[in-house]
Amino acid sequence: MPLVAIVGNPNAGKTTLFNTLTGSHQKVANFPGVTVEKVSSFLKLGGRTVECLDVPGLYSLEPISTDEEVAVDVLRGRGYGARKPDLLVCVVNAANLERNLFFVSQVAEAGFPLVVALTMTDILSNQGQVCDANKLSNMLGVDVVPVIGHKGRGLAELLEAIDRNLENPKIPSAEFGFPLSLETKVAGLRERLARVGLDYTKAEIRRALLTPGSDLENALRDMPELKEAFDTAVKDLAEEGMQSSVEVASRYQWAAMVTKAVMSDKGKAQSRTTSDKLDYVLTHRFFGLVIFLAVMYLTFQAIYTFARPLMDGMTAAFSWLGNAVGSHLEGVPILKSLVVDGLINGVGTMLTFLPQILILFLFISVLEGTGYLARAAFLMDRLLGWCGLSGRAFIPLLSSFACAIPGIMAARVMPDAKSRLATIMVAPLMSCSARLPVYLLLIGAFVEPKYGPGWAGFTLFAMHLLGLLVAIPIVFVLNKGIIKGKRLPFLLELPPYQMPKWRDVWLAMYFRGKVFVNTAGTIIVVMSVIIWALSFFPRSNEAAQQYRNQYVATHTGAKPADADKYVQEQQLAHSYLGTFGRTIEPVFLPAGFDWRITTSILSAFPARETVVPSLGIIFSLGEGQEKDSTDLRRALNTATWPDGKPLLTPWTAIGLMVFFALCAQCMATLATVKRETNSWKWAVFMFVYMTTLAYLAAVGVHQVSKFFGG
C-alpha cells in the first residue's frame, strides 16, 4: 500500500487538512522510544487506498533536536517501519509564502514525488492579496492545489492530484539559485557517488561540502579516490570564499523571487490587519496581561460551573446504579460488595473526571485554534523562562490546577523535549481539584473553628501556592542534573487570529478523552478493585458478629445503626489494608499520623477524594461521609491517641494537607506520565521524588510545631 507523508511548517494548516481528510479514523501513537506523536490513517483515492502519515511540523529538514530528527527520519526511510514514503504532500501557507517556500525548496530536493497543498488562501484574501497557484505550479514544476481545509474546498482536486502523482511519479527538478561553482561540484560528486552505488541527494552533498564533519564525509574515509575529489572540491570552495550560509541565503533569494512573482494585490491592501488591531490590546504591556488573567479566570470558572453539575449528576447516577444493582445481589454479599463498592464505584470515579477533562480540552483547543495560546506563551515566557521552563508551559501548568492529566497531555505542544519533560514532572505539584475535598475537610475541622474564616481562606490559598513554590526549585534541579540534553531556543510564531476550526476542536476532545479513558481510566478502575479487595478481605460473619457483640456490651442502649458503623470500622481495621496501615504506622508517626490516618492515605491511591469516605469509615461514621460533614469534622477533632492526647492538632492537620499537596498518589496521573513519556522511568521517578518530598514536609511541619509547642 503506498505511503503518503504530509509535511509542512507548523501553523500551515497541516493538522486541519489531515483532520478533514481522515476525520476520526486516526491512529495516534508514539514513534518508538521517543515522545513524538505519530498520527496515521488511511485515505481512499480514486482507485486505491493509501496510508497517510501526518509528519510533525518542521521549519527545516535540518534537525536541531531529537524530536525534529525523528520527524526528518520519516523521509530518510527510518522510524516508520523502515518504509520510505511514495509521495510527499507539502502543505504551504499562502499567507506566509516566503518562509514556507524555503521549506518547499528543501522538500523538493529530498527525492520524492511532490504535491503542494496551498492553504490559508482565505486569510490571504482578508489581507488584500491573492496567490497565483498556476504560476506557482509552473515555477515549482509540481502540482499546486489550493485547499481550504476546514471547508473541504479543493479536497477532491487534492486527492486527484495525489492519485495522479502516485500513478505517474515525477521527482521535481526546480533550481534554487545556488552559485554555479557550487552546483557543478555537487552534480559532479553526485554522479561519481552514484557510480559506486551511493545515493545521496543534492542537498546532502551540498551540505557536506559546506559544513565539515558530515556523515557523508565520514562515509568516504575508506574510499581514497572519492575522498580526494571531495577534499579538492571543499578546498576550491574555501578559496572562493564560499560560506556555509550561502545555502540558506540562496534558498531565500529564490523564495523571495517566487513570492514576488506569484503574489499580487487584490482590492485595498490593509496596512493594519484585524490581527494587528487585536494584538495591540491583547499583547499590550498592561491590558494584555489584565485580559489574559481574565481569560484564565473565566476558563476556570467555566470548568467549575459547567463541570460541577455534570460531575454531581454522574455521582448521583452511579450511586443510584450501585443501589439498584446491589439490591439484586443481596444474597451474595461478597459479589455485591465487589460489584457495587469496587467496580461501579471505580468506573463511576473515573467517569466523573471525564466532564472536567473534556471541558479543559475544549478550552485549550479553542484557545489554540484562535491563535491566542501563542500570545499567552509570549506574555508568560519571561516568568516561566526564568525558572527554566518556557511560556508554552503556562497552559499545561494552569490546566493542572484543575487536573494534572489534561495538563500533562497538553504539554505535547512544547517543541523542546527538555522543558516539556520538566513541565510534565512538576505538573502534579499544581494543587488539583481532587485535593480540594481534603483541604476543605481539614481546614473546616481545624482552622476555621479556631481561627476564623479569614485564616481558613488564607490556608486554602497557601496550599495552592505551596505546590507552585516547590515546583520552582524542582525545575532547577531537573534542568541542571536530571534531565539530559540541551534546551532548544525559544522561537514562537504568532499566527493571525482566526475562528477556531470546530472539527479540529471536537477531534482533539475526542482523541484526548479516549486517551484518558484508556490510560487513566483503566488504572482507576483496576486500582479501585484492588483497594476494595484489600480493604474488604479477610471478612467473616463470625468476626462481624463478634464486633457487634463487643459494641453492644460496651454501649448500653445502643442503636443498631451505630453498631453497624462500629462493625464497619473494625472490618476495615482488620482488613489487609488496615493491617498494613497498622504495621507501617511507625513510619508515619514522626509526621503525627496514626494508623487510621495512614490507612486512609493508602486507600486514596485510586483517587485522592477517596480519603474522605475512608476517614468516615475508620472513625466509625459509616459510609458516605462527605468533605463538609460536621460529624466527620467533630470526629477528627475529638480523635485521640491511645494515651488520650488529641490525634490531630491544627498544625498536624496542615502537615496532612501538605502531604496531600505534594504526594504523588494519583495512579491515573502516573499512568498518564508513563504514556506521555513513553517509559516507566519517569513515572517511577515522579512517584519517588514527590512522595519523599511529601513525607519529609509532613514530618517537618509536625516536628517543628511540636518544638514550638504547637
Binding site: 516566503e98 518562509r99 550560509s245 515566557d381 519571561r382 523562562g385 514562537l492
Partner: protein
C-alpha cells in the same frame, strides 16, 4: 548593502518600533542556524513590533510573518538600524 554610517549592534539592544537589518551571524550555533532558516539571513530587514511585558521575548515581523524570540538567546546576531 551594508549601511556604513550605522554602527552594528547586538540584537538584544533592539527597541520597540525599530527597523533593523541583519548584518552578520558570528557563529554557527544551532540557534543562529535556525534563525537563518526562519528568514533572518544576512541583509534581511525586520521590524520590532513590541516587547513582552516583562522585557523579553520580543516580537518582530520578518519576511511577512511574526516571530517571537528571546533577546538573551541571540548571542552572535549582529544587526544595524535600517531606514
Amino acid at each position: 548593502m551594508i549601511n556604513v554610517a550605522a554602527p552594528t549592534m547586538r540584537f538584544n539592544q533592539v527597541r520597540k518600533g525599530m527597523k533593523a537589518r541583519v548584518v552578520k551571524m558570528k557563529s554557527n550555533s544551532d540557534m543562529l542556524k535556525r534563525l537563518q532558516e526562519m528568514g533572518l539571513t544576512e541583509g534581511t530587514v525586520f521590524t520590532v513590533n513590541k516587547v513582552a511585558p516583562f522585557g523579553d521575548p520580543v516580537e518582530i515581523t520578518v519576511r511577512g510573518y511574526r516571530l517571537c524570540l528571546r533577546k538573551n538567546e541571540t548571542d552572535g546576531l549582529e544587526i544595524e538600524v535600517a531606514e
